[in-house]
Each structure stands twice: as structure tokens, then as C-alpha cells.
């Protein structure tokens, strides 16, 4: 205690603390404003995270959360031992792969085409039209798909029938399920997806094009050597984000398209959590399934972010 340096240290901290306290009193309104939001995050985000402990318990409603018995990894063992686990995993992966293969490039191509338009008015028109489906709910999109493809008076099947063909069970057959899921996403989100690429394209230095023209580059060469490299990093970042959310195949859409006949190829982790948890009331087991999904998702986000940085990109975290 006799050491003057050691003795002066706490006083500096004290001064700092006192300053902070004074600042906090002066800023009291800021904390009051912050309060409702903080409560929201605690109640609806952090309490459910604490509730994940249910996955390690045998939840019984009459005992409540605290008194229910601990069972360790029992639910996880049951889930991983179930052949359904592999089914869910492969269904999720195939849908996600379809999404990246068939949907992901579309907004880029569309943005490039829009960017080549010379008439700004025409560009605006096209954009206005292709954005619209983004604002429709999945229920509406799936309903429209039903109206077109059902065997009972659906437009497409009526057309097939009038040409003497056999009606196709588009909505009930497992073979069509993935095509429909991917097709609907394309229809709904391609236009909206162009926004970010168009913004990136707007930032390209026009002098580059002038220079290329003088060097005799045609439009295809300009596209290849100037436009595409300019949006490369945007493409990579979005691809990484997509990989990070790999397991989040559009849940609501799948839920709506799912029926007893295509469940074989359509059931994914989220829909399974809903069926076992909410419909059948197996809270602990389905919480375990949900926790598995969340953890894998988190690993994917960090993993893809790591890869992004390896590629010399900024990453998202």
C-alpha cells in the first residue's frame, strides 16, 4: 500500500468511474429509451436460448421447465439413431443445392441484362414489374401455383387434357416437389435479387468502358473484362451469405407445399421440428432437433466467413 504507483491506480479508476456515472446520469433518457428494446431482446431472444436446455431434459408440462428431469444426450441419441435424420439432412442439402445452382445466378444475369439497357424508362418499367412478386406472401405464391397446377380444374392440367394428354399430379408427386420449390423461388425473388447487383454495377467507373471501346472491345468483351470483375466481390459475398444460411431452406414455402404424398422428399429440419414439437407435443425432442440445426447453422456462418476472408474478401462478421 505504501507504493505510490499502486495507490494511484485505484484513484484513476475511481475518477474514470465517477465520470462515467456522471455521463450516465446526464444521459439517463438514452437508457430509458433503450429499455423496451432491451426487454424485447431478453424476453423473446435470450430467454428462448436459455430454454434450449430443454433439449437435455425430459420436459413435462405439469412439472415445468425447472423441475423436469435431466436426461443428458438422450434426445440427441434418438435423433441421430433415427434413419429419418439422414433423410432430413439429404432433403435439406438437395433443396439448398438446387437453390444455389438454379436460383442464385438468375438475379446476376437479370441485373447484367438490365444494365445493358439504354432506355432508362424501359428499365424502370421492367424493374417495377419484376419486383412485385417479392411483396406477395408465400401463401399467395403457393395458392397461385395451386390454381395453375392442380388436377381439379388447374390451368396447366386442363391444357394438357384438352390436347389429349394425361393429367399430371404436379402437386402430389414427390418427383415434382423440388422443381416446384425452386421454380417458385425463382418467380418470387429473382427481380428483387437484382437490386444489390444493379447498385454494384452503378458504381463501375464509366471511363473503363470508354477506354475499352477505344481499344476495340465489343460489348461482350466489355461485359467479360469490366462488368463482371466489378461485381465479383458482391457475388462472392452473397454466395457466402447463402452458404452460411444453407440449412434455412424457405421454411414457410416448404411447409405450404408439403403434403402426405411428397413428405418423403419435402420434409426438412424445420418442418420436422414443427410436426414433432407443436403437433405431437414432444417439446424436448424437437428442441434437440432445433438445437442441432442452430448449431450447425452457426458453424456454417463462421465457416463461410472464414473462407470469405481467405479469398481476400471482407467477410460479413
Amino acid at each position: 500500500m505504501g507504493n505510490p504507483i499502486a495507490a494511484s491506480k485505484p484513484t484513476i479508476t475511481n475518477v474514470y468511474r465517477r465520470q462515467r456515472l456522471r455521463r450516465m446520469v446526464r444521459n439517463k433518457w438514452l437508457y430509458i429509451m433503450l429499455l423496451p428494446g432491451l426487454l424485447y431482446f431478453i424476453i423473446f431472444k435470450y430467454v428462448p436460448m436459455y430454454g434450449l436446455l430443454l433439449a437435455f431434459k425430459n420436459y413435462q408440462p405439469f412439472l415445468g421447465f425447472v423441475d423436469s428431469e435431466w436426461v443428458g444426450l438422450k434426445h440427441f441419441n434418438r435423433f441421430f439413431g433415427d434413419p429419418l435424420f439422414w433423410k432430413l439432412l439429404s432433403n435439406t442439402f438437395i433443396l439448398a443445392a438446387y437453390n444455389i445452382l438454379f436460383f442464385f445466378p438468375l438475379p446476376i444475369i437479370l441485373a447484367l441484362m438490365l444494365n445493358e439497357l439504354r432506355s432508362q424508362a424501359y428499365k424502370k418499367w421492367i424493374q417495377t414489374m419484376v419486383y412485385i412478386p417479392h411483396f406477395m406472401s408465400w401463401v399467395v405464391i403457393v395458392s397461385i401455383a395451386y390454381l395453375f397446377f392442380t388436377t381439379e380444374g388447374g390451368l396447366v392440367n386442363e391444357a394438357i387434357a384438352s390436347m389429349g394428354g394425361e393429367k399430371v399430379q404436379f402437386l402430389l408427386s414427390p418427383g415434382w416437389f423440388r422443381t416446384f420449390i425452386t421454380g417458385e423461388v425463382m418467380w418470387k425473388e429473382t427481380g428483387w435479387g437484382t437490386i444489390i447487383f444493379l447498385a454494384a454495377l452503378a458504381g463501375v467507373d464509366t471511363q473503363l468502358y470508354e477506354a475499352a471501346k477505344i481499344d476495340g472491345a465489343g460489348r461482350m468483351r466489355q461485359l467479360w473484362h469490366i462488368t463482371l470483375p466489378a461485381i465479383r466481390s458482391t457475388i462472392i459475398i452473397l454466395l457466402i451469405l447463402r452458404l452460411g444460411n444453407f440449412l434455412d431452406t424457405g421454411f414457410e414455402q416448404i411447409f405450404l407445399m408439403l403434403n402426405s404424398l411428397n413428405r418423403e422428399v419435402g420434409e426438412v429440419f424445420d418442418t420436422y421440428v414443427y410436426t414433432t414439437g407443436i403437433s405431437q407435443g414432444e417439446y424436448s425432442y424437437s428442441t434437440a432437433v432445433g438445437l442441432f440445426k442452430s448449431v450447425v447453422g452457426l458453424v456454417l456462418v463462421f465457416g463461410s466467413n472464414f473462407i470469405a476472408k481467405r479469398f481476400g474478401e471482407e467477410g460479413i462478421l
Binding site: 429509451m33 431482446f41 423473446f44 430454454g51 414489374m129 412485385i132 390451368l155 402437386l171 460489348r219 403434403n259
Partner: protein, 293 residues
């Protein structure tokens, strides 16, 4: 710009214009078909199959819908949820975004970290359901309003937006004796109106289209939003064996094609009407969203 007039370039332009027109039509025609069909008679629909403009204009489907209590009630629920929900969203988001935008506030970064973490990891469906249940919100409108009251993503963007405003404005307001809530209300919010309008639209679209949370939290069919009813009418009334039809009211008659289409129109058009008014802003808003917070 140097004008290009080479044949290849012209050909490319023409090709591009045509393909884009086709894409736009493919996007919009299914919806136009549904709108047209909702004004057509059942006979014309059956005869022609595909119409983009009904020759016998009929309001029968809409008359039928507006005479049913079920549909009107659902529409009322959706309008209520959308208005009240959006007000709650934007109020809570602004209230939280403003303090977080202030560099002189303590504990700013730990709180932000706490918020960002919820974007990466969550308790998931079942624990959230149990929290809502424990709070006694099942079968109340609160369950549709509160669990999604703030989007962490929108919050971070609005905070960044507030942060860009020149701090001098706040300084001078403070010298004039304004309190922090006063600054938010009289300076920050008026200056951010375009951004806030955009995010209100995003929140409003979310509420209007809300489907799954109602399936999860609302068993009472008198409190169903329009989207849930739409699914019952279009998807579950046909095929019989599809999905769970148990919750469908037994006295509900299986509607004809035009009625189904009219329900789709009613559950889509009101929110689409808002969109042109905000269109010039949302590209900017969505863009802000893509930039790292």
C-alpha cells in the same frame, strides 16, 4: 459516350429488350390471370381456361366474399395487425436505434454485440413457442405483434442511418435546451423519414403476409389473419386428403375458382397499393441493408 451502331451491338440490344419483356411478362401474367379470373364468371373461366381480360365482367366473387363474415373478419384482423404491428415495430426500433447511435453512451458495444448475436443464433421454434405460451399470449393478438417486434437487422441499419446525421445538429439543439427524447422526435426522426418509411413498408409487408406465426400461436379461427384463411380456401378445399383439413370450419362451402382468385387478390392488392408510393425509397433502403453495419 461514344455511340455504338455496329450490327452486332444493335442485334444484342434488340435481343436484350425482347428477352427482358418476356421475363417481365412471365413474372406478371400469373398475377394478372388471377385478377382477371376474379372478375370473370364461372362459365367463362371453365370455357376459356385462360383469360387475361374477362368479356363478361362480374363482381359475383367479391359480392360473395364481402357478404361472408369469416373473410371480412380475417381481413379486419390483418388490417389491425398490420397497422398496430408496424407502429410498434417502428417505435421500438427507433427508440432503441437512437441511443445506440450516440457515441457518448456507455455500454454501447456490448449491447450491440448482444443484438448481433441474435441474428446468428436463436432459441428456435419450440423454446420461443413455450415463452409465448408461458406469457399467456397464445390465441391473443399479442403473439402476432410482440415476438417479432424488432428486427435486429433493421435496427442495426437504422442505427447506422442515425449515426450518419451530422452531430452538430444535436449539439446545437442541446445548447438550445432540448432533451434527448426531444432531439430524437424533432430532429433525428424528421431527417430520417425516407429511410423510416422504407422500413415501415418492410415491416408492414411482413405483418400483412404473416402466416406461420398465426399457425403457431393462434388456434381460434375467429382470430385468423387473411393469409391463414386463404390457405384454407385455396389449398385445403381441394384434393381433400392434402395436409390437415381438421381446422377448416365445417360449414364453409367449397368455393368456386373465381372466389379463390378473389381471395388471393384481396390478400395481396392492399399491400401492393402501398408499394409504388415508396418505390423510389426502398432501393436505397434495401441497399443500406446490404452494407455491413
Amino acid at each position: 459516350m461514344v455511340k455504338e451502331t455496329s450490327w452486332a451491338s444493335r442485334l444484342f440490344d434488340i435481343f436484350n429488350i425482347i428477352v427482358l419483356a418476356v421475363i417481365a411478362l412471365v413474372t406478371i401474367i400469373p398475377f394478372i390471370y388471377v385478377v382477371a379470373g376474379s372478375f370473370a364468371t364461372q362459365r367463362e373461366l371453365l370455357e376459356k381456361g385462360f383469360i387475361l381480360f374477362p368479356t363478361e365482367f362480374s363482381l359475383e366473387a367479391y359480392k360473395y366474399i364481402f357478404s361472408t363474415s369469416t373473410l371480412m373478419r380475417s381481413l379486419g384482423v390483418t388490417i389491425f395487425i398490420t397497422i398496430v404491428g408496424t407502429l410498434i415495430n417502428i417505435t421500438l426500433t427507433c427508440l432503441m436505434a437512437y441511443p445506440l447511435s450516440r457515441r457518448d453512451m456507455d455500454f454501447r458495444s456490448p449491447i450491440q454485440l448482444l443484438i448481433i448475436f441474435t441474428m446468428l443464433f436463436s432459441g428456435g421454434m419450440i423454446p420461443t413457442f413455450l415463452v409465448v405460451k408461458e406469457l399467456g399470449m397464445l390465441d391473443t393478438y399479442w403473439s402476432l405483434l410482440l415476438p417479432g417486434a424488432i428486427s435486429a437487422f433493421n435496427l442495426i441499419i437504422i442505427r447506422s442511418f442515425f449515426q450518419q446525421l451530422p452531430p452538430d445538429l444535436e449539439e446545437s439543439a442541446k445548447i438550445d435546451g432540448a432533451s434527448d427524447p426531444g432531439i430524437l422526435l424533432r430532429i433525428v426522426i424528421p431527417l430520417s423519414l425516407p429511410a423510416l418509411a422504407t422500413f415501415s413498408l418492410f415491416y408492414a409487408v411482413g405483418h400483412w403476409n404473416t402466416y406461420f406465426s398465426s399457425i403457431l400461436y393462434i388456434n381460434d379461427s375467429t382470430k385468423w389473419p387473411i393469409q391463414v384463411l386463404l390457405r384454407q380456401i385455396v389449398m385445403l378445399s381441394q384434393g381433400g386428403s392434402l395436409g390437415d383439413t381438421s381446422s377448416l370450419e365445417s360449414n364453409f362451402i367449397p368455393p368456386d375458382q373465381a372466389v379463390k382468385m378473389a381471395v388471393i387478390v384481396i390478400s395481396t392488392v392492399p399491400i401492393l397499393i402501398v408499394y409504388p408510393f415508396l418505390q423510389k425509397h426502398f432501393a436505397k433502403g434495401a441497399l443500406l441493408g446490404s452494407v455491413k453495419g
